[in-house]
Symmetry: C2
Amino acid sequence: MGRLKQFDPEAAVAAATDLFWRQGYGATTPADLVGALGIGKGSLYNTFDNKRALFGEALRHYGEARVAALVAVLNRPGPARARLQAALERLAAPETAHLRRRGCMGVNTVAELGGRDEAATAIVHSIFERMERALQAAIEEGQRNGELDAGRDARELASLLMTTILGMTVIAKMSDRTEQLHRVVHAVMSLI
Amino acid sequence: MGRLKQFDPEAAVAAATDLFWRQGYGATTPADLVGALGIGKGSLYNTFDNKRALFGEALRHYGEARVAALVAVLNRPGPARARLQAALERLAAPETAHLRRRGCMGVNTVAELGGRDEAATAIVHSIFERMERALQAAIEEGQRNGELDAGRDARELASLLMTTILGMTVIAKMSDRTEQLHRVVHAVMSLI
DNA sequence: CCAATTTTGTACCTTGAATTCAAGAATCCC
DNA sequence: GGGATTCTTGAATTCAAGGTACAAAATTGG
């Protein structure tokens, strides 16, 4: 059967995600990865075909975690409006402060690879789509129980919230201006 | 006095902007630049100190053009609300279709260099700030003449619109879904 | 026209990125 | 335990990025 792996591939993907998220695809070198994953180059290329393939797994890994986190917030008990607000507010919360300057790995990927790597773009697209659907579900729930104006198009509102979230991650990555983020959240929440 | 330059440095910066905008900083090589600017390496490094310096000029060039374009739309005659809508709608308009998949060079730069190149980040920051101020001015105008609810915080609304614009450029770069962009515009314009 | 000065393109250099490979080590099966 | 197999390690390889040096050519003031 041969020698068995001396490391956990899933943990390696998680570590790679961390690096790619912070540095982007192009700026992350195999040497960086070897250092962060704590394995040799041979193991790296033996387990993951190449840098691009590992990046794909990292991006997927990132997406699952982020979508799950958003869904978790949106599924908490309480009024739908508060849950939507919490989903936005999370982007400006103190507990995510250390992540803020990384921006969103999906946005980063689209910005860096958009138009040149359709596969990566497609992964990000599906991440954003799932997030938007989760937002829409919460909005529709709020409309059903009268918290939100049922006359509005839930899909439209979900698109707006998703767009707002994306814009907020850009602002967050640019400089840690928490107040500005809160201002955006307040603006949109007082409108819907 | 010696020989004078055989090319127009401003035109060269414009060409470099085009390249950097499409490919990003890291993915653009000196060879690419030499090809696009139509000059030799000697002239390139003689006129612009290095790749990073040229990128800085390109980013500035981009910012001036974009801010001016936004201000131009916002200063057109007619009701303030229509002008704000036009500013957003422009991002989904047919005449900007060929630019859409490039995304916003500011967003691209923040995504790629944010946290690693404070100077570049600062330039982008100032671009976005000027845009947001222009939006705020138009909003305040709309509030003064009764088109927009004067009870709302204009600064907050401007932040929201700016954030929406940033998010829209991300969506646009990901895939040319014009309808989704229109949906976002409609959503935000029907709320304010 | 001459000298000074600058441009220009090519050739060259250095560094590091991305990947491959050879040799050794661990594992299982018989 | 021997052999087949798969993993690990780190050195070797390849290639291009980013920039420098240089010599030839061109332009201007005097």
